[in-house]
Symmetry: C2
Subunit: 181 residues, 2 copies
DNA sequence: GATATTTGATATGGTCCATAACAATTATCA
DNA sequence: TGATAATTGTTATGGACCATATCAAATATC
């Protein structure tokens, strides 16, 4: 489905700014079109769930990043902090796998969070191979602020756009797809 | 939010296969947990729209690829074929930008489709800088087969899972997010 | 106690996304 | 008209994310 995340800087295109088709002598090929903007026809594309799903996901992530700009947290990082906080005493493999992150890719991510003093790896005494993950005090504080930002800026915007009951319904359907598809 | 696309090969994890905690002498730290699987607590994560949205999107794309395996079409490629078919006479910039693809990244994509004889670049006579995009006969045939596969295997599965009216509602809400968020 | 498994880690390659820059062509306008 | 600016497709390049193989240390298994 494509759909990049270009941050929508300008206006997505100059849009051909009505310059007339050459002169105006061959009014034959373009019997219909007057010539102004001419947006493309999406056709069946706007009915393709995958296409719309991807576009929506990009918009949501984009908004999430804006809301979290002050804390410098990506969606993935936020999910790690949330999960570590709710599941104390778990190791890297457990946290990573429930988030769908492969262990090798989780290493750099933790290096980042640890370097910012948001979480820490603690060598387990039971199994000295594994690292128990915990949030630092700063990590807990940042998570608390992040939750507030998400609730008041991010999710609130969605309630405003869809209404609370629709938002619930949307979440339910997406969960169903995520779990049973 | 994370959520990789590991194709769900095995079962996401061996899950700790109930081996008993060491011996069974320190039934004190683990007063509650008997010891079997112990799935992690998702907590607020399952209420985060971004998280659920991303997981659902990955599942949908994954299923799309399976349905299209015989045609070897990715979601992005399918969207290009659809858009070129519905909008004859458009150039690369126009097609790419409406799909959210940056022009530089669209080149390799077109090289691929053209090498498979699914579409062709035609030097425009009006503006010799631009390439008009068209589907070849093979491209049209493949697109037709792709549409059938999507309708009968992919989207049908969603109707089965959500019901037609819910599917419509879902699409509407996602469109709203994609366009107005 | 020998062998297999698990954990965190490194190296590596692939894909996708984003920016800068360029040649050819066209538009602008002094 | 002719100099300058803008546009189109393209290449090169770097970053982010994803996936696999492999390793040493530690543990489990038999």
């Amino acid at each position: 489905m494509t759909v990049s995340k270009t941050a929508e800087k300008s206006s997505e295109k100059p849009a051909d700014t009505a310059k007339g088709r050459k002169d105006a002598a061959e009014a034959q090929v373009q019997v219909q079109g007057p010539g102004p903007a001419e947006a493309l026809q999406l056709g069946e594309l706007s009915e393709q769930l995958g296409y719309v799903l991807k576009r929506a996901q990009l918009k949501v992530f984009e908004n999430f990043l804006r809301c979290m700009a002050s804390l410098q947290l990506t969606p993935a990082q936020f999910s790690v902090l949330l999960l570590v906080d709710k599941n104390p005493g778990r190791n890297q493999t457990e946290i990573a796998s429930t988030l769908g992150i492969l262990r090798p890719n989780f290493v750099a991510m933790l290096d980042n969070l640890e370097s910012r003093d948001l979480c820490a790896r603690i060598r387990s005494t039971n199994d000295r191979r594994s690292h128990i993950l915990v949030l630092t005090d700063k990590g807990k504080a940042v998570l608390a602020r992040a939750k507030k930002l998400v609730a008041t800026k991010h999710e609130a915007r969605l309630n405003e756009l869809l209404g609370p009951s629709n938002r619930e319904a949307l979440l339910g359907m997406l969960s169903k797809i995520a779990n049973e598809f």
